[in-house]
């Protein structure tokens, strides 16, 4: 390592993945196949004995009975439909356009149905909210649909009840409220005009009805801010495709906050320098307390406490200027030590003018949102990057007002619609007790969660893949949700339940059609069918008013009616808010949405529990993250040589404390401790049970997302984190030349490559110069092993390019792959052993200082090497090369030697140590009895859910058995389908774009391109022709088909002067010497 350090030019950052590695220690990473990895006790029988027994029983089976009866495959039945539905062709998937509210965003989706089972969702390219992309949450929704722990029946208290009883009770309570009043409806932020119509109708009939909205994406601060700056009743829609300069304050707009899919596509379109849009590359400034994936994409990133966002913004406002009528707004404070950053950001903002935008995250208070809105207005951004649109949601209050109304007895009848405030709200509000004390409370939702437990009634709601609905997208246009499957548990949607409460027995479809007057006062039936087919409409919520008579103003309770737009700004309130938002002293506690579990709605989703957090790489559990300096000050550390065994800490705030593992996480702001939501679910389901802690127990009602005055103290003992941080380390000396000869110095071209737009413009070869050997030196040791891809007669040659300049590190590819390819979940203990099965992983490299590093993500699927090291060591030819350039894996031929995984320099092969796919395998039920030994296998504590979970499986992909090696196949089932389609209907050649891999299709940023390399005009060939294109570990002569495009930054020269050091080429040259 030290040799390399001497010759590294400043333009070549040194990359590291963990603090231990950065400190120069050989990562404590265990060997790829740790000792004892293949031993598990099955009823006190070891695997070796087990195999012996198995061998003996097979021999006996062969002896007994005739050969025919022993060897003949078991009889199978074929059950054709009695009446086959029209258009259903067995074996052919059907796609339906639908719309979902996922992660605070309305996504138009194409759901894939195989024989009536929805098994996968893709983005609908025609929908402005998804643009063909999705995120990890949307991909994980199909598993939620088949979750055996999802609620299926109504409950009264702790006992199951019938639908008649539950609906009767709800209707009775609403009827009573029509005279007595005191109704409170607590909703999530799903912008459904039908639900709003029904809620309005209830509110109209029940005097004094109060509406509340308490979910994590309620954006109450932004809505309040809109009123302060003269846009009451509006929400701001941001379009990043027109933004040249973006300043994001505590806003993870590419990760967890709102319209991430749309923003990722727009952002990435401005980061690819070859494209016309990307040539005018945008510049991103990020100010944040935690290190989000948005922070990794920042050209300049400032670590600041969340509470310092207001001071940063005030300093920015002072330099950018505010609209004339609001010029007096000021805090009088600035952010110390950030002058250069503020000046650079301000000058860029002013330079870009209307083509700039300041974004503020939903965790920030209203005054900060308002100040940002004023800056955007002063820049002239309204109309280009920012558009004000009517708010599709009814005016509602927050959880604090809910608690107050319950305490004051103003609300006696409570209906919760898809929200879980008892879990999320600050404990000081005592919401659980207040709800329990309410005379009537009903919870409508997918889960029997904490709020359901506090309510007298729980009504199981259908999953959105089972319901009809309408959703208003961020562009103000509505699109429809249509069911892919009849409710599995016979449940109803919340729209239907509300209608029943009003005495209306229409089904969900009729309710939605009635909202818009389809076939009656509104559009025609034909329009309805077109809307369902395309998944988009041009209808806006204004059309609802025409279709259904609006409630008269007098009859509507004030809370439910949108307030009249304020003509003027409320600058006094704004100034008071800014003054109140002063940064606090001492340690600041931050609660953020979990990048995988979100607000806890995916806590019982095993895919999401095992999906590594993009930054910390944690799975199955959470930790209190803090910067290295803060950890040092607090005395929090980890076990020598084993950085995943960490000190436990007690985090205390406002008299409450929480004990959890402490994690030292580079890039966090100092004096900040970050906790993620979604843990500590005790009764939600079998997957979530006992994983992590509930960060919301430390919530403060006044400032729910961050608060000063926290203390962190070391608690007794240490605990292990389940992290994939050190897995698949490509920098191990055992890989590469040193493997060939131990004395060969390890010299390697950079795995991830970054450059700046200026350096790239000056020298387009700057990326290729990092290659250790020139391309001409790439000679094969083996003759004729690599297919000659120019030889057209050999047919199509598949290849992939991944643009690191577009990748936002969101994990969507990993989950899309998991859903498409039947990839099992292995559980926490197996992750510790390095046995996670993801076929595409997201490597995260830090560079720079431990305190303030940069980070870059790199998705790693199988490279499909033309000269594949794995193929050369397989003793049974289970992995061989196909004529179209794929590195095939024949599962049924694999005998599990694992030589191939050992020999893979990219570490992309995954081995089924156990029969992971059979969840209720008896082996895993042993886990329950071994709890006291710390032997817990959370993913496999299901009793008999196999039939339900297995409905999600993709029938086009083999479900692998124990002892089989597997890996990314470039979605060979999709290639085969496209190839067969081309053979049946065409000339046998798949047109460009005819095959999209699951990762490519899910990628919201469009970072992955796949196609035919033998066609020089295909998109992937054109992308690979870029001088940014490089092949990882090309010096090993593996000839990988997957290549990467270097990430390009666009730094401001005043903050980051261009390097005047020796060029990268000279540096690389010294390597040879």
């Amino acid at each position: 390592m030290s040799d390399e350090n001497d010759v590294v030019a400043p333009t070549r950052p040194q990359y590291w993945r963990s603090l231990d590695a950065a400190a120069g220690n050989t990562p404590a990473s265990r060997r790829e196949f740790p000792d004892g990895a293949d031993v598990i006790e099955v009823d006190d029988v070891t695997r070796r004995q087990f195999l012996g027994i198995m061998g003996a029983s097979l021999a006996l089976a062969g002896l007994s009975g005739s050969a025919c009866s022993a060897i003949r495959k078991p009889a199978q039945e074929i059950l054709p439909y009695a009446k086959r539905p029209e258009d259903l062709v067995p074996g052919m998937p059907q796609y339906f356009a639908t719309t979902a509210f996922v992660g605070g965003s309305v996504l138009g989706l194409l759901a894939k149905s195989q024989d009536g089972r929805p098994i996968k969702v893709e983005g609908n390219p025609a929908h402005p909210g998804s643009l063909g992309g999705t995120n990890a949450w949307a991909q994980a929704e199909v598993l939620c649909l088949y979750d055996p722990d999802r609620s299926g029946t109504p409950f009264h208290g702790k006992g199951a009840a019938s639908w008649d009883e539950a609906l009767g009770a709800l209707r009775g309570a609403i009827d009573a409220a029509k005279t007595a009043g005191g109704l409170g409806i607590v909703m999530d932020s799903r912008p459904s005009p039908t639900r709003r119509r029904l809620v309005d109708s209830i509110a109209q009939q029940c005097p004094g009805t109060k509406l509340f909205r308490t979910d994590a994406w309620a954006d109450a601060a932004a809505r309040e801010a809109a009123a302060l700056v003269g846009h009451a009743g509006d929400v701001a829609r941001v379009d990043l495709s027109t933004a040249d300069v973006i300043v994001a304050i505590d806003c993870d707009f590419l990760g967890t906050d709102g319209d991430v899919v749309r923003h990722a596509r727009a952002f990435a379109s401005r980061r690819v320098p070859e494209s016309p849009d990307g040539a005018r590359m945008n510049r991103l400034y990020v100010v944040e307390p935690s290190f989000s994936t948005t922070g990794t994409r920042a050209d300049h990133r400032l670590r600041a406490k969340a509470s310092q966002g207001v001071d940063f913004l005030a300093a920015l406002a002072a330099q950018v200027g505010l609209p004339a009528d609001a010029a007096s707004v000021s805090t009088g404070r600035t952010l110390a030590g950030a002058d250069a950053f503020v000046a650079a950001a301000a000058s860029d903002l002013k330079g870009a003018g209307a083509r700039a935008v300041v974004l503020v995250g939903p965790r920030q208070p209203a005054a900060v949102h308002a100040l940002a809105a004023l800056i955007n207005e002063s820049l002239g951004a309204v109309g280009t990057t920012v558009t004000w649109l009517p708010d599709p949601l009814p005016k509602a209050q927050g959880v604090v007002e809910l608690a107050a109304a319950l305490r004051a007895g103003e609300v006696k009848t409570l209906v919760f619609l898809g929200v879980n405030p008892v879990y999320e709200a600050a404990p000081e509000l005592g919401l659980a007790e207040l709800v329990k004390a309410a005379p009537f409370s009903a919870h409508v939702g997918n889960w029997r969660d904490e709020t359901a437990a506090a309510c007298t009634w729980h009504l199981a709601a259908s999953h959105w893949l089972e319901t009809w609905d309408d959703l208003v997208g961020s562009d103000g246009r509505v699109s429809f949700t249509q069911p892919l499957i009849a409710p599995i548990h016979g449940t109803s949607s919340d729209n239907e339940i509300l209608a029943r409460a009003l005495g209306d027995n229409s089904d969900g479809r009729a309710l939605v059609m009635a909202t818009w007057g389809f076939g009656a006062t509104g559009p025609s039936e034909g329009d309805w069918r077109t809307a369902l087919q395309t998944g988009v409409t041009s209808l806006t919520p204004a059309a609802v008013a025409q279709a259904t008579p609006a409630p008269t103003a007098a009859a509507v309770p004030s809370e439910a009616a949108p307030a009249a737009p304020a003509a003027t700004r409320d600058l006094a309130v704004l100034s008071a808010g800014l003054a109140a938002a002063a940064p606090g002293e001492g340690l600041e506690l931050n609660i953020v949405l979990h990048p995988c579990l979100a607000d806890g709605r995916y806590s019982n989703n095993a895919w999401m529990q095992e999906l590594p957090d993009p930054m910390t790489k944690l799975t199955w559990g959470d930790a209190a993250a803090m910067s290295p300096a803060t950890a040092k000050r607090l005395g929090v550390s980890f076990k020598e040589r084993d950085p995943l065994v960490v000190d436990r800490v007690t985090v205390t705030l406002g008299g409450r404390s929480l004990e959890l593992p402490g994690l030292i996480s580079p890039g966090l702001a100092d004096d900040v401790v970050v906790l993620t939501m979604g843990g500590g679910r005790q009764d939600l389901g079998r997957v979530a049970k006992g994983v992590g802690v509930n960060a919301c127990e430390l919530r403060q009602a006044a400032s729910p997302w961050f608060a000063a005055g926290a203390t962190v103290a070391r608690a007794a003992g240490r605990s292990r984190l389940y992290s994939t941080q050190e897995h698949g380390d490509l920098t191990e000396p055992s890989v590469g030349p040193a493997f060939i000869h131990p004395d060969t110095p390890v010299v390697r071209g950079d795995l991830v490559r970054e450059t700046t737009i200026a350096a790239w413009a000056a020298n387009p070869q700057v990326v290729r110069e990092l290659d250790v050997i020139d391309p001409v030196e790439e000679k094969s040791l083996f003759k004729d092993t690599s297919p000659d891809i120019t030889e057209a007669a050999r047919g199509q040659q598949w290849g992939m390019a991944i643009d690191l300049s577009a990748c936002v590190g969101c994990n969507a590819c990993t989950i899309a792959c998991q859903a498409e390819n039947n990839i099992p979940v292995v559980g926490a203990e197996r992750v510790e052993d390095g046995r996670e099965m993801h076929w595409i992983r997201l490597d995260r490299y830090y560079s720079g200082s431990e305190e303030d590093p940069k980070a870059v993500h790199q998705p790693i699927p199988c490279m499909q090497c033309e000269n594949a090291p794995c193929e050369q060591v397989c003793p049974v030819a289970a992995t061989t090369h196909s004529e179209d350039g794929l590195n095939d894996m024949a599962y049924n031929r694999c005998i599990g030697t694992r030589y191939c995984a050992n020999n893979c320099p990219y570490k992309v092969r995954r081995f089924n140590y156990f029969n992971f796919a059979a969840e209720n395998d008896a082996m895993f039920r042993q886990a329950d009895t071994k709890d006291d030994q710390g032997y817990v296998d959370k993913a496999f504590q299901h009793d008999a859910p196999a039939t339900l979970i297995s409905l999600q499986r993709n029938p086009d992909v083999t479900v692998r058995f124990r002892g089989v090696m597997e890996k990314c196949t470039y979605c060979v089932q999709r290639i085969s389908r496209a190839r067969i389609d081309a053979k049946v209907h065409g000339d046998g050649l798949v047109p460009d774009g005819g095959v999209t891999t699951a990762c490519q299709q899910a990628c919201p940023a469009g970072a992955i391109v796949f196609g035919d390399l033998s066609d020089t005009q295909s998109r992937v060939s054109r992308v690979k022709a870029s001088p940014r294109n490089y092949r990882m570990l090309a010096e090993l002569n593996t000839q990988p088909r997957t290549s990467y495009l270097a990430r390009v930054h666009n730094p401001n020269e005043t903050l980051e002067p261009p390097a005047a050091a020796p060029s990268a080429h000279e540096a690389a040259g010294e390597h040879h010497g």
Binding site: Q76, E77, L79, A82, P90, V972, G988
Partner: protein, 215 residues
């Protein structure tokens, strides 16, 4: 010194020298045949819930295979027909036949008829009917003379080596797409040469790599 072994034991080495090779050859040869699908699978003829006669329908009545197996050209599966397909005719023809009792039950209840699968491939082999029909492989090549079977039985081993025989050299099994369901068409008699068939837009190139069939 007393003899431990009787005199006849002198013949044991000779007997072994003869018996072991013969036994080994017999064991290997036996397993080669009796453990292979040629023996275990060919001739498999399970009893079906309804005594449907292909010999009558496809043979004497001359119905096209695709009237019932209508998805064969569109999908990987040549779907077993729905009860509705049976009733298209049998609502009128032989509508009171005792043999059709179960068909009428299925039609009325909506419950599927439980047919026994005859041609069974392992789950990891992804056979696709539409690709083979598009290439011009006739039904008879894999299924035999269905038109002569009262009860369907398996005629070919459907083993991997049997598949690869054709994937290596498909020409003998190709025919014009118009003759796909013709059970009596003979390539030799017709003098058919696929390379000279003007209706073919591409040469048939069956995959021979693993992922062609295994995914």
């Amino acid at each position: 010194m007393a003899r431990i072994f009787p005199r006849w034991t002198n013949l044991v080495p000779l007997a072994l020298a003869v018996a072991l090779p013969v036994g080994a050859v017999a064991a290997v040869g036996g397993a080669w045949y009796w453990f292979s699908p040629k023996y275990t699978d060919v001739g498999y003829q399970p009893k079906q819930p309804v005594a449907f006669s292909h010999a009558l329908h496809a043979g004497r009545l001359g119905m096209d295979c695709r009237y019932c197996h209508d998805t064969a050209e569109r999908s990987g599966y040549a779907a077993v027909p729905s009860t509705q397909t049976c009733m298209n005719c049998h609502a009128v023809v032989k509508k009171d036949s005792a043999l059709l009792e179960k068909v009428r039950e299925s039609w009325e209840s909506g419950e599927a008829l439980r047919w026994q699968r005859v041609h069974m491939l392992p789950d990891y082999a992804y056979f696709n009917h539409s690709a083979h029909l598009a290439a011009g492989v006739g039904c008879v090549s894999c299924h035999g003379r269905i038109d002569q079977m009262e009860v369907v039985q398996q005629k070919e081993p459907l083993s991997m080596s049997w598949c690869l025989d054709c994937h290596g050299d498909p020409t003998p099994n190709l025919r014009p797409r118009s003759e796909i369901t013709n059970m009596t068409w003979d390539a030799k008699a017709a003098g058919y040469d696929p390379s000279k068939d003007a209706t073919r837009v591409r040469a048939v190139q069956p995959p021979q790599h693993c992922s062609g069939c295994h995914r």
